[in-house]
Symmetry: C3
Subunit: 659 residues, 3 copies
């Protein structure tokens, strides 16, 4: 802070209804000013002031940015990656496995925990921040990787065979000969290294969690703020963390969600990040630990948008909405990452809107916390498939990644108001879902695929895309007709593929524009075995092959999409699949930009969130049982027409508890 | 030279009226063939021949390209930058602070000076060549930087606070802990390092100047050829040199100006570079030490263009126009940087046109040298603001820089024939200007801004753009309402900003095309306090904010532009400001591509240069007092209509001395 | 292979008529599992099985991919380039001059040769694979380069002069001072280094050839698979190998040709690579050692294309067509480089078409092997000119290279059915050609140019493009009027150049579209001396200069093209030149996409290959003597109309032996 304004800040926070703050996370050099010399004065000051004001505090371990004295003493702490060693300057540039880093990190965490754990304002802890492995691959990590392989593959000959090491003279006769994979062209060992790196993140977070839990008082929680694949905003599955695995030992999962606003605000990222984070711990409510207030200059919100965003988070099951950050830093890289306040600390339009959110939250929290979902559709993703897919993409110069395939399918569900969970191969019971969407499951073990076959056999509906089932867990392509083990469930086979050029779907089966009817990126030359052909390619040569198929398998059915359709065709295929799975209903009377999300609250009452992601006001028919619009505190009849203003929100709580 | 042709060259030079040449500047390895072994024979030969022919010589110190024997002996001489150490091969790749380099440079300069100083042909010296700091940031420079900080900031706590070092754990407790800023994300320390690097250049040039002056005879001058920000041609303010400071100890400022020609010749770069260099030494005449003859292949001039360019330099106050270079090298990287002659040494169209320039110069020099200007408008620039601005630009992926903002404002003045000086914070007296244009003064001390407020208060007219006043001299954003200290003068305030998308100006106040009416790059959400709103945004949400304002403050007024307008709107706003400053006059009857520039010559007579930057002939009315067109030696009446041919020039000297 | 399927593979190979396979080439780590420990079991197994099945084997030396144990022991084996040292992972990343590499390579080659040479299935050897110098420029190579210069230039002063070393202080006084040219800006020394690097490749291949020949039985051949400049497919002259020189000691030249297919299949790359490789050894038949079966996904062939491609190779003089590769690897980088079979090893459309090729080859080989050509036109290329040209291209930011100039001229000949050889400065007798096309001969010695003058004088027809004759063999621009030594033959001179903007040809002399009439990339401002002007520029300023000229010189004539024309204008200029050379004939009744190629077979009979490079069937008139269509075994009359289906082939053997 440029001047002492703690009291002024707290006053403004209180006026905005802010009741939790997060501190300490990147302040190692302020906390431990020299090796072993600690200064807690700023922390004490804030804790006391917040405590007095009744604002609760989450204390973050300060480890994601290392002090210069530490780097000066141990230069190896800066991670070595395939692109060389990081420089000092950015955060998140250390080798999280470095013993010197670990020893000092442990020390500062212990000192901090001892100091703050008994303060009554402290309700919980955040371990580190958006932790990843930072592509660390130096000698330290390489030695651990060799040990990892050695333990996983007792038979080096099997390793050579499964990983295709003969190719280009990579075969090794003893583990000592395995060189760094920094330059490898072998996706099998490259993907194994990524898996190993993701495990390093899980191990590191678990280590921090254990340390923190040694001190935490009963009732204090431990969380972490996971983030998503970053495209200038939160886009898709995070490639560098197995989040479902890393979340296991957390008390609460947390997430950071950033997204475009103004005319580009859709709610997609809010829903995606929320559905994902809620699914990490099997539907348990989560925290939005960071989201934008003003954000980037181009995100300065229109009136209403900050409210719409906040209630959208709640509708996904969030139990907290926290902004990064309160005010805006006057120096350094986040000068244009705008907080609730600008550097002038004056109330502005965004802050004023935040005050209304705080007031509504204060009043409605009993009805809005701990919301539960009961989704019948899940999106099946795989970190292993993601990594392996991205090794190849759609050719050597392609820049299109796994998440570019996955997101349009998620978006289609979101836009047609189909509530969606996320599952991965670690998810226990799939049978609670009527429908699974499985994009680009490029690398998977036999067992994983057989489990999906079994899911269909038992009555499930699966929508697969191209490239699913192609290679095994070692990214070795299956030596069978494709799509490998899932072929019987899909009822198809193919042996050849190509890239579509001027290829559409014959007779425009989904009745879209000619442009939307075109195939993108990839196409498999599919022959149905038992499947029904839903669409064929429109092309002089490839016209004889199937593009979309559906197959009855056991009690269920599988839809297979052999190419990347336009968003419009994806929407049509997904709608068709949803109908076939018997899930088409009232919600689908609405469509984006009118969004409806459902929950059940602690009182056992159904909540219906109606969102208008549009600059134009909208009339929507409320189709559910009679209830009360919570924000206006007005009754709502079934089939009553409601007006949603631009970027508007309505939340109707049904009057009766659902049975 | 591929064969001995010195006499032939001199003969052709004489025929072209060339009376000065520049030698020796990059020939260290020819001069000192091994460590301590010198060979002056080629220099002697040229000096003698030139002397005999009556051609004067500027001798350059040869230090901007180091010999291989020196690099072999001291590999550390090649500068280490954030991108690694330079390789041998290019020029200007050394660490100018390296002690071994300095010792050898001193030695070769002293030897050269001893050798040439008494030769009668030598009229002056050029120290080094387009000197910059070459981004040098190795251990040597880092140690000096730490010392610089230590001296500038006796209180390390104040340093930490002013530079925002707490952020991301950068706080230091002792200076020894300050690591290299190569990887920093902190614009405050990054900009301070740039300032320090620019100081290294000034120090280095001053060191060379002192060395040379130890030997120079009275009457021999010392100059340097400054260059501009390079965009494939000379574009804007040089980011790596504080030229106004570095020019102080030179006898004459020099400049290298390169620019597009053919259909793209506008004269903008000639005027910009000339106005800047003339302003470096408070209006003192300067040398164009390098400009193109044929230049790049795409610059081969159309007939008339070489003449137009030469007289445009003179019109800006140049006392010399020198070409890089005489003939074209047969080897190496400048094979396609074409001199007056091609590698065939034959007279060509360009050379033939140069001969006419030489003849005119010979005849008209008494009237054309030492021209004086009396401009009422100045463009206020800042190296510190430039550096700080470029840290952030308009977002993390933006490539638009300070000079992209500054140049369109300069161009607008040039195109409407408003004579313009340049000033920066080192400029003594601003009161001689009726109007200052201050683009993007992003980083400035309180004192600097207060001085500008005072300028307005005393009757000055300022045009500010967005982002001015935003942060202090340490690139710390001011903790006040924006635009900070200049807010009272501007009569506005704002707290929020955004990036314009489909934002225009309401009711098209400047009557331009719809496309030209759009806002670009940046917009501040401005509320007037005391200012009058000249234009508002046209946008459903941002429509309530001001885009352009004007405010009376003391005896003067300030125009504030909150966004980046199109070139067409800039022209209208600037015209409006010029009128308001009472400067609209006869010159503005002409507009680009017809350009008029004024001077007063040694005889005290007014000179009016009329330039036609167009492939079409033009009629212009000569509006000034009766005089003589110097090139044709014909009288010209007031209000006489003159025909300027394609790319044509007229120079009228008034008959009477102005009082 | 993922499972033991050698017998199954051989069965499928036999069914496809495959009678040669290539093994061992990148399997060093499988062959020598540790330093000095060899395992030949997999080689023995394949040799025995192939031998039993009657399939012949080419054994490749395994040296182009080094085992990890070798790199671990000698890390310097990985080449150091201007971009740093290669990482382990890719192939072709070693320093081929490294003594440790050489010693181990020699050992494994000797061991392999001893082991396989007597196996009856082995018919020949391939040394290494697509060998190049991999840009190796580390200390080892630098020392050899200095020695190379020292021997080539006994007079260091002459070296300094010829290479323009004074420029930017590069002059050296003793050879020890010559630093690495990694960072050089001097095209003269840069090109000399490239020449030296290409010599390293020749030396290395000759060294391997000698080693192999120590063991090879009489009748066993030695070959290498040269490749072309790579643009995602085989594009032009290989910049890193002097292939005509490197091919000298091979028994048979080999080539790898990859190219687009589907709607982009033109046959251009097949013809280009074939004509080039056939010319390497003066018309001797060659092997297509690698070409695609399915290839990249976007190359999956349309029906008929695999046949069309195979017979096109034969028509160029290939004696073998081999696919890379049989089946597709299940792991690593070539997972999507599809062989004849996909990873499922099932017959697919491509394999089924290959079977028909195998059957036709088996039946028709006596008529189709050892075909001879008698071309009257040759394309003159130069590795030295290529390297030198690419140093400058068309300016500092230009990405257009020598091959971009050369290929359109080759394509024009191919498309108008003019049979073309390739020649370079090593080619003995040029007089057998009536016409030479010489694009961008940017760097050439006096002797080389005088030989071309002599060729014209003696009655030859040359077509030169711009930039020919410009600089000598040291890339020193000639100090004469351009185009230097060839000026008398071309009958022109020029001294200035520029880049065309909105420049066309006056009066559209070639009657093309306005777009096609535009000049591209470069233009020389040509004045004819003795030449006739065929076309002038259309431009207000440049209109007075010639664009295309023709000159009688001795008994021959030279056409000179001063700019880069559109493909359409190139076709017209070339047609004109072909006519003037008296070579316009029946073949030119056909034009792309109908292609005709001629040969004489072992029986002394003329063969006429008719290819339809189109998705539409075509009628063509067979204009030659009566014969038999070999594929259908049907008689064909002179002037009979033949139907070529989409992507169709006809091969007519004349009935009578030509006299």
């Amino acid at each position: 802070m440029p001047y002492d304004r703690l009291d002024a800040d707290i006053k403004m926070m209180k006026e905005a209804g802010i009741n939790v703050v997060r501190i300490a996370e990147s302040t190692w050099s302020s906390l431990e000013v020299e090796d072993g010399v600690f200064n807690f004065s700023h922390i004490d000051r804030v804790l006391d002031a917040m405590g007095k004001a009744g604002i609760k505090v989450i204390v973050g371990t300060p480890t994601y940015a290392v002090p210069s004295w530490l780097v000066k003493k141990y230069p190896d702490i800066l991670a070595v990656t395939p692109q060389g060693q990081y420089k000092f300057g950015p955060r998140q540039n250390m080798d999280i496995t470095n013993p010197d880093f670990r020893r000092h990190a442990e020390n500062v965490i212990r000192k901090l925990m001892q100091h703050v754990k008994d303060h009554p304002a402290v309700i919980g802890y955040q371990v580190d921040n958006e932790t990843k492995h930072y592509d660390s691959s130096g000698p330290n990590v390489q030695a651990m990787f060799v040990k990892h392989l050695q333990q996983k593959f007792p038979d080096i000959a099997a390793f050579n065979r499964d990983f295709g090491m003969d190719y280009w003279s990579h075969r090794i006769n003893k583990w000592d000969d395995l060189l760094s994979v920094d330059g490898t062209v072998n996706a099998s060992i490259g993907s194994e290294f990524s898996l190993f790196q993701r495990q390093l993140v899980t191990d590191y977070l678990n280590w921090q969690i254990s340390l923190v839990k040694e001190y935490a008082r009963p009732g204090q929680f431990v969380t972490q703020n996971f983030d998503l694949d970053w495209r200038g905003y939160s886009y898709g599955i995070q490639p560098r963390v197995d989040q479902f695995s890393a979340a296991k030992n957390l008390d609460v999962a947390g997430v950071d969600i950033y997204h475009p606003t103004q005319d580009k605000l859709t709610g997609e990222e809010i829903a995606f990040g929320g559905d994902l984070t809620r699914s990490m711990k099997q539907g348990k409510n989560y925290y939005v630990i960071e989201t934008q207030a003003q954000g980037f200059p181009e995100w300065t919100p229109y009136p209403g948008q900050l409210r719409l965003q906040a209630f959208s988070h709640i509708a996904s099951g969030a139990n907290m909405v926290a902004y990064w950050h309160w005010s805006t830093t006057a120096n350094s890289i986040e000068t244009y990452w705008r907080g609730l306040l600008s550097q002038d600390f004056q109330p502005n339009e965004t802050y004023r809107e935040a005050k209304t959110i705080g007031a509504d939250f204060a009043r409605l929290s009993p009805q809005l916390v701990n919301l539960k979902k009961d989704n019948k559709v899940a999106l099946y993703f795989s970190n292993q498939a993601l990594t392996a897919f991205n090794w190849f993409k759609f050719g050597w110069t392609s820049t299109i990644e796994y998440n570019d395939v996955l997101r349009p399918f998620y978006n289609a569900l979101y836009r047609m108001n189909v509530g969606t969970d996320f599952v991965d191969s670690s998810t226990g019971d799939l049978s609670r879902y009527s429908m699974l969407v499985v994009p680009a499951l490029y690398s998977a073990s036999d067992a994983e695929l057989q489990r999906l076959n079994e899911y269909v056999k038992q009555g499930g509906h699966i929508v697969y895309t191209f490239k699913s089932g192609f290679s095994d867990q070692h990214v070795k392509v299956r030596a069978t007709q494709q799509p490998g083990i899932i072929a019987p469930a899909a009822g198809i086979e193919y042996s050849q593929v190509t890239i579509p050029e001027k290829v559409g779907l014959k007779d425009n089966p989904y009745q879209v524009t000619p442009e939307e009817n075109q195939a993108r990126w990839w196409m498999e030359l599919i022959k149905p075995t038992t499947a029904k052909v839903l669409a064929s390619y429109d092309h002089p040569v490839w016209g004889k092959y199937a593009a979309v198929t559906r197959n009855q398998y056991g009690k269920g059915e599988a839809t297979y999409i052999g190419f990347m359709p336009s968003d419009a065709v994806i929407a049509k295929i997904m709608a068709d699949a949803v109908k076939n799975a018997g899930l088409w209903g009232k919600d689908q009377q609405l469509t984006f930009p009118q969004i409806v999300r459902h929950s059940t609250n602690q009182q056992g009452k159904a909540l219906h969130f109606l969102f208008n992601y549009s600059a134009a006001a909208a009339q929507v028919t409320y189709q559910w049982e009679e209830g009360k619009e919570l924000l206006s505190d007005k009754p709502v009849e079934k089939n009553q027409s409601l007006t949603l203003p631009a970027w508007g929100v309505s939340i109707i709580e049904e009057n009766s508890v659902r049975r």
